[in-house]
Symmetry: C3
Subunit: 207 residues, 3 copies
């Protein structure tokens, strides 16, 4: 197993946990948990693979990814009542999943020798789209749209860091580690200390 | 015309009827009916074909599918006022469409010699994603998220039945018939008799 | 640069402006503006390219598209407070973007020698799906679902006009110009004078 597929596995596992937590908030049954977990877990990477014409799509070629996501769904189904705040777990697990998935997407695009702009876009896409699908389908406010929180920014900063690091001669693996670290650090700072970028200063919408 | 494309035609027709019924609930015009009908009718199969890199996508290679969906939209536009409960028609037509589409997706993946896990996932994807797109776009509560009803479970059980039946030596066609039957039977039982799986037993979300 | 890629550039630019305006209504930060702008700008064309198996996807092969969308996001971030009604700008810019994108999608499908039905569908898809993604993600009422307004109808009429014009011997470029003109004229007439098709005459939904 390569380091890249390890990253994909880790991101699938953690995103699946967040999907199952959202399913628990919607009071679904076990199969519903697995459905939302799989959608969240493979959504971002699937879009990345389709955009880059990378076939078979990572989980079609290696169905273990989906089995891991289902295992995560089962785990959450039987243990979610043990945690005090599911929402807090959701937010923090999502921050890990985001960081790992951004690194995985960045690594996949780097390994295909894509240009810098495309690598950055694939990192952001892989990181953000799985969670976005989860939130849109389950009618939660998408995390990418939360006011006054860094989210897409973390993904963007992480993947840009990796691209610049490889340009400066760093190997792919440490560059991806740095990517995940920067992404997660910014997200954690935003959650813990309220770090944010200036938001749009206009009036709220009238219509 | 092969048996597989017949299944695709039937699933397109019935899903288009459900899409047009949802459009009638949103009080759209005739072109809006056709748009939602087409989205619902070809959505699931399109995702299946893209995931499996099966080109041309079924309706791009054979535009008759889209014309059938449009005909269904016209039919519903002029007759939906005749039925007493559009919602009941919607639910029951959707149960037929789900069953046929699950069989169609399962059959397509079987014919490509995909592994069992992928066949199951393609069955579920083809069955569930068209209706999911319809509900997300039209802002209805997605049927896959309805508490205390079997939905994804029916798709899952149907396609697993087909995979096991073919493993046991049954031909593809009777296996797909069995698939549709199991899927529809479970869904009908859930609608008529309240069959359900245990749902997540935790607290409702606090945030 | 070909005339077709010029159309794609123009549609990306104007759709990105509408995406950024929606982001301003959601009070996002600059990176959020860019994310929604890019999603809106390339969404429809991306689906078109995936459906037609046209690789690389237009913006993967030519990342300038994305940079233009980001520039549009920056522009709106710093100037949106200057306009009196962001919603009115949004609606009218969207009408231009729709018209240009329908022409771009129609042109792309024509250049691949697709059948008439597919050309029409690609025109409608390219025109409508970017805005639809924007509205679904940002939880706005999708413009395609606005009651008593022409929207999908404009896209449909425009692309049908182009197909018929080329069949009658007109060159591709004037045919695409006619397409954009018909689409925009209908949309403008709908916004200014309330032009509409008869909507579904039934009862509103009871459930």
């Amino acid at each position: 197993m390569t380091a890249l597929s390890l990253l994909d596995y880790a991101s699938v596992l953690v995103f699946a946990l967040t999907g199952a937590l959202v399913a628990s908030r919607a009071q679904l049954d076990l199969v519903g948990f697995a459905f939302i977990a799989c959608l969240t877990a493979v959504g971002g990477g699937t879009v990345r693979d389709l955009l880059l014409d990378r076939h078979p799509v990572f989980w079609v070629g290696q169905p273990n990814y989906v089995l891991i996501a289902c295992a995560a769904a089962v785990l959450v189904f039987f243990t979610a009542h043990l945690v005090e705040s599911r929402y807090r777990w959701l937010i923090w697990l999502d921050s890990f999943a985001l960081s790992i998935a951004v690194a995985a997407g960045t690594g996949a695009a780097l390994s295909l020798d894509q240009s810098g702009v495309i690598v950055v876009l694939m990192g952001v896409t892989t990181g953000c789209l799985g969670g976005l699908m989860r939130d849109v389908v389950c009618n939660e406010v998408p995390l990418v749209l939360k006011q006054g929180e860094l989210y897409v920014t973390c993904a963007f900063a992480g993947t840009v860091t990796a691209v610049m690091a490889t340009r400066l001669g760093l190997d792919a693996l440490p560059a991806l580690g740095l990517c995940a670290l920067v992404c997660w650090g910014l997200r954690a700072g935003s959650l813990l200390f309220g770090w944010q970028l200036p938001v749009y200063k206009g009036r709220p919408p009238s219509a």
